[in-house]
Amino acid sequence: LGLTGCGGSGGSGEEGAAAGELTPVKLQLQWFAQAQFAGYYAALDQGFFEEEGLDVEILEGGADIVPQDVLASGDADYAISWVPKVLGSIEQGAAITNVAQIFERSATLQVAMADSGIDGPEDLAGKKVGSWGYGNEWELFAGMQKAGVEIGDIELIQQAFDMNGFLAGDIDAAQAMTYNEYAQVLETENPDTGELYQPEDLSVVDWNEEGTAMLQDAIWADTQRLEDDEEYQATTVAFIKAAIKGWAYAKDNPEEAASIVTGAGSTLGQSHQLWMTNETNKLLWPSTNGVGLIDEAAWEQTVEIAMGTKNETGATIISEEPPATAYTNEYVEKALAELEEEGVDTRGAGYEPIEVTLAAGGN
C-alpha cells in the first residue's frame, strides 16, 4: 500500500536545478485543463518549474475528483482547490495546508436577465436559483442568508455543466464563474436582438461586493510532510515560486498563455479561452500584498461563513474553527522574497486587463 507520493526521492534541493536531477511533483487540478489554471500550464511550458528543479506533472480533475483528497491520500504532492471545500475535508481528517492563496478575489456570480427584477440577493426569494453544488454553493447561501433569504424561500436547482437552463428560462438566477459560464452566456445569441447577449442584458450579483466572497483557488500541501520533510518544504517554496512566475507570465502575455492551455489539451474555443485567461488574471492582479499571500481578514471571513452558513439539509461546512495548520504564509513569503530578489513583479500594481471580444460559441 502507498508506495507512491513520497515524491522527493533523490532531488538535490533548490540548488540542483543546473545539475539536471529534477524533483518529480504532481499537481492535482480541480477540473479539466482550462485557463483557470493558466499560471501552472504557463510555468510548465515556459520552464519555470524546471528552473526551480521540479519535474511537474499536472493531473486534470473530473466531476468526482476531490483534489484535496487526492493530495491527502498521497497521490499528488500539491492540489488546487477552493478554501471552503477544503475546510470541510480538513474537518473530516484530511491533513493539508494552504500554502499559497493564488486567487485573491472570488469569481462566483449569480447571473440573471436584466429584466428579471433580480438586482441583489434579497431579490432571490421565490425565484428559481441555480447552483452547481459540489461545494460551489456556499457563497450564494451566505449572501442569501445575509440578505435575509432562507433556502426554503427559493427553488434551488442543480445546475448542469452548461448554461442552457438559464438561457431557456428554467433558472432565474444562475451561478456563473466570471471566467467561464458568464462568458458562455455572452457567446449565445439573444433571440430578442439577434446579436450575442451583451453585459447590459444581464443583471449580475457579485459576492465580492455583497461581502460574502470566500477564498477560491489556493495551492494546498500535505501538512505532515511540511512538518517532517525538509526537502518537501524546499520543494514547496520552489513550486510556489514557479507558479507565481507562471501567473506573472499569464498577466503579461494573456494570448500566449491562452494558447499554452489550449495546447495542453483544452478544447475550449479560442475567444473563450482568452476570455478565461483575462478574467482569471483579474482575480490575481493587481495583488494587494503579493500573489499567494493569505490575507488574514479574507481567511477569517471565509471561516466565519463556513461555520455560520447552512445548506439545504441544515448542515454547515464546518462546525468548529479549523486547526492552525490549515494555512501558513511561511512558504509563500519565502517564495515572494526570492522572487522580489529576482526582480519579478509579484503585485502587478499597474495591471490592466485586456479587452476580449467573445465569438459565438466561444470559437
Partner: protein, 289 residues
C-alpha cells in the same frame, strides 16, 4: 439485433416440445433462475453470512490499518451516519425513488404499448430496431444534458424520462418476445373459435406475454433507480440521492456519502424485490405449465 437487453433465453417449457412428462420436470435442471432469486427466506442465510463476513473484514481492515474515513469509512461509521441522517437519506430516497418509480411505470407502459404495436405491425418493429439498438447502447450521460435542455432544467421530468428510457428498452424487447411467444396451438384454438383480433389479444397474446413483461420490468427496476440517480448529476431540482452522494463526497464527508449510497442500494433492492415479486406472481402458473 434487437435482443441487446434481453434476458437469457426463456424459462423451461418454451424450449422442449416433448418435455411434458412430469418426471422430466420434477427433477429440474441444475442452475438457478436469477429471476426467482431473492425469493423469500429460502436461503437467506448463506448470502447474509457472506455479507456479515465481508463487513467484518472491512471493519477489521479499517481498524487494523487505521484507515482514515476520508479514504474508506468503516461499515460501523457508515451505519452511524446512516442512522444519524436518516431523515435526509429518506428525503433524498423519496425524491429519487419517486422519479425512478414514475420512470418505471411510464417507461414500462410505453414499452408494453410499443411492443403491442410492433407485434401487431411487424413493420414498426423493423423500423424501430435501429432506434431501439441506439437507445440501448447510448450512455445515459450522453442524453441527460440535452434532455435537460429539451424539457427544462427545473423539472424532475428529465430524470423521469432518463429512467423511463432505461426502462423502456428491456420492457419493450422482452414484451415483444412475449407477444411472439404465444403458443401457435393457442392461436389456432382461438381461430377455431372464430375469435376476433381483440379477443385473441386479450385471451391469449397478452396473458402469454405477461411473464415476459415482468421479466423486462425486473431487469429494468434497478436500472431505473441508477438512471434517475445519475441524471441528478447533470441538473434538475436539488434533492435526491445522487446529488447528496456527490455533495457529501465533494466535502470529503465520505461516511455521509456512503450513508446515501446505502440508501441508494436499499432503494434499488426495494425496486428489484417488488418487481421480482410481481414477476413471480404473474408467472406462477405459466412457469410450470
Amino acid at each position: 439485433m434487437s435482443g441487446i437487453v434481453r434476458d437469457p433465453p426463456a424459462a423451461p417449457g418454451s424450449r422442449t416440445r416433448a418435455g411434458t412428462r412430469p418426471s422430466a420436470r420434477t427433477r429440474g435442471v441444475a442452475g438457478i433462475d436469477p429471476g426467482r432469486l431473492p425469493g423469500t427466506g429460502r436461503s437467506l442465510a448463506a448470502p447474509l453470512l457472506l455479507g456479515v463476513a465481508a463487513l467484518l473484514l472491512w471493519q477489521g481492515a479499517v481498524w487494523l490499518l487505521e484507515i482514515e474515513p476520508f479514504i474508506v469509512p468503516g461499515p460501523l461509521a457508515i451505519a452511524g451516519a446512516f442512522l444519524e441522517n436518516l431523515r435526509n437519506v429518506l428525503d433524498a430516497a423519496a425524491v429519487t425513488g419517486a422519479n425512478a418509480a414514475i420512470g418505471l411505470v411510464v417507461g414500462g407502459l410505453l414499452g408494453v404499448a410499443a411492443a403491442v404495436a410492433s407485434a401487431a405491425a411487424p413493420v414498426l418493429d423493423r423500423l424501430a430496431a435501429p432506434m431501439v439498438v441506439a437507445l440501448s447502447v447510448i450512455p445515459i450521460v450522453a442524453l441527460a444534458p440535452v434532455l435537460y435542455t429539451m424539457y427544462g432544467a427545473d423539472q424532475q421530468a428529465t430524470r423521469q424520462i432518463v429512467a423511463g428510457i432505461a426502462v423502456f428498452i428491456p420492457v419493450y424487447v422482452n414484451s415483444l418476445r412475449g407477444f411472439r411467444q404465444a403458443a401457435p396451438v393457442h392461436r389456432d384454438l382461438m381461430r377455431s373459435y372464430a375469435a376476433g383480433t381483440w379477443q385473441i389479444t386479450r385471451s391469449v397474446t397478452l396473458p402469454s406475454a405477461v411473464p415476459y413483461m415482468f421479466t423486462g420490468l425486473r431487469i429494468a427496476s434497478s436500472l431505473a433507480v441508477v438512471s434517475a440517480l445519475i441524471a441528478e448529476y447533470f441538473g434538475g431540482p436539488v434533492g435526491g440521492l445522487g446529488k447528496s452522494v456527490t455533495s457529501a463526497a465533494s466535502s470529503s464527508n465520505y461516511t455521509l456519502a456512503w450513508a446515501y449510497v446505502v440508501g441508494a442500494v436499499l432503494l434499488g433492492l426495494l425496486f428489484y424485490a417488488v418487481t421480482a415479486g410481481l414477476e413471480k406472481y404473474f408467472s406462477r402458473h405459466t412457469a410450470r405449465a
